[in-house]
């Protein structure tokens, strides 16, 4: 599934070459603008990679009327520009497409990044009809995705300039984390999170809307949502989990969080709340089943930080382990910016 399209500017998004007509740069190509707009509506974000001065990105954004999530303008290799964009947006090459009219640029990028989808503008004109570009559901979070990346950039710029601790920065941002019980209206977004999340996904398996919907009313099961907002914007539903609530232990077969929320205390708060809620109803152990993969190593860091331990001897690839937390002693504290139900 493509999450981001990275566009060349000259003779791709524009109908000519920016620097050859600096007085009156060429207008956008209507066919490409139409595809870009259509894909934005489905929650796909857009970026620019161009052999041009940085002003070209500003011109393209203004001419097209689109806020790009990232832009790399310069005279280095296109593949390096694209790597920079992917790192900036926290995406892997297989989640992105690159569009360029120059065959040699496409060849260089294809060779350097074999997992990236590389297309000519002609291909791109009908690529909007391909399944890679067509999520089955378009959630409110997906429609706002482009704007949220721009908010993220402002937040990161302020964080770099901020002198205090991470806690102080989260407080300064007016961070608000809301944990709640999932409602039927949350199911499409939870399904989307099961597909789109990787770094913070314990199972690595898609969960259908039907399966999630069925869990909502099943005895002994709970589905939890986590929402996030701050002074830069409302990220909506960014995470969730499924709980199998036993009398002596709680087991979490699925725990997931959008990488958009990374570094904002969300996963730590969710793990702390789970421990509190489980202990409150008398459970002695909290289990989180976790597939062991390179991609979801950040989740293991969060589990280790929250005091979970797994008993398997080695971390062989593709294996899975159960991470356990004994619920003895005082429950972990929740920061003041968390709103959560205490009683399950």
């Amino acid at each position: 599934m493509i999450k981001c399209v990275i566009w060349d500017i000259d003779n791709t998004l524009l109908t000519g070459v920016y620097l050859e007509s600096a007085e009156q740069p060429p207008p956008p190509d209507p066919a490409m603008v139409s595809v870009l707009t259509e894909l934005s509506g489905r929650g796909i974000i857009h970026a620019l990679a161009s052999r041009n001065p940085p002003e070209a990105a500003g011109y393209a954004a203004a001419a097209i009327g689109h806020q790009f999530a990232a832009a790399e303008c310069g005279w280095g290799r296109k593949s390096d520009a694209i790597r920079g964009i992917l790192a900036d947006l926290d995406l892997t090459p297989d989640a992105a497409a690159f569009v360029d009219d120059e065959a040699h640029e496409r060849a260089e990028v294809s060779f350097a990044l074999p997992d990236l989808l590389v297309l000519s503008p002609e291909d791109m004109a009908d690529a909007a009809g391909w399944p890679e570009f067509g999520p089955a559901v378009v959630t409110p979070e997906a429609r706002r995705r482009g704007a949220m990346y721009a908010q993220r950039r402002r937040r990161q710029e302020e964080a770099r300039a901020f002198g205090g601790s991470r806690e102080e920065f989260l407080r300064y941002c007016d961070t608000a984390i809301t944990i709640g019980w999932a409602q039927p209206a949350d199911v499409p977004r939870l399904h989307e999170l099961s597909i789109r999340t990787h770094q913070f996904n314990s199972s690595g398996e898609e969960v259908s809307e039907a399966a999630l919907g069925a869990l909502l009313g099943r005895p002994g099961h709970r589905v939890v949502t986590v929402r996030l907002a701050d002074r830069y914007g409302d990220d909506g539903l960014v995470g969730g989990c499924v709980i199998e609530a036993g009398a002596r232990d709680w087991t979490v077969p699925l725990l997931m969080m959008s990488c958009r929320a990374i570094g904002r205390g969300v996963i730590d708060v969710l793990l702390a709340w789970l421990a509190r809620a489980a202990a409150r109803v008398g459970a002695a152990v909290l289990n989180v089943g976790c597939r062991l993969a390179d991609r979801n190593m950040p989740l293991r860091l969060a589990l280790a930080g929250a005091g979970f331990r797994a008993s398997q001897a080695s971390a062989a690839p593709a294996a899975a382990a159960v991470f356990r937390k004994q619920l003895t002693g005082p429950p972990p504290e929740l920061p003041g910016w968390v709103t959560a139900p205490e009683e399950p």
């Binding site: 205090g164 991470r166 913070f200 570094g263 989740l299 860091l301 280790a304 930080g305 971390a315």
Partner: protein, 72 residues
């Protein structure tokens, strides 16, 4: 390395998880990526519970054991 400047210069025996440093998953991921890039040691692949991240001293010992003494 972690994107958190206030963590520069912490003593080697300070616990990285928990109050004080409070190594979160973002900073920890950046740290382990750098360890892999600089020393060729994949901590996550070998250390299920990431015990190597208890302190900077345990992390250095873990790397030294596997990287053939290339760090000082």
């Amino acid at each position: 390395m972690t994107g958190r400047r206030e963590l520069a210069g912490i003593p080697p025996q300070t616990p990285l998880f928990g109050p004080g440093v409070g190594l979160d998953s973002l900073a920890g991921t950046l740290l382990l990526r750098q360890v892999r890039a600089r020393f060729g040691v994949d901590v996550a692949a070998e250390d299920l519970n990431l015990d190597a991240l208890a302190t900077l001293a345990t992390l250095a010992a873990f790397i030294e054991e596997r990287a053939g003494g290339g760090i000082s």
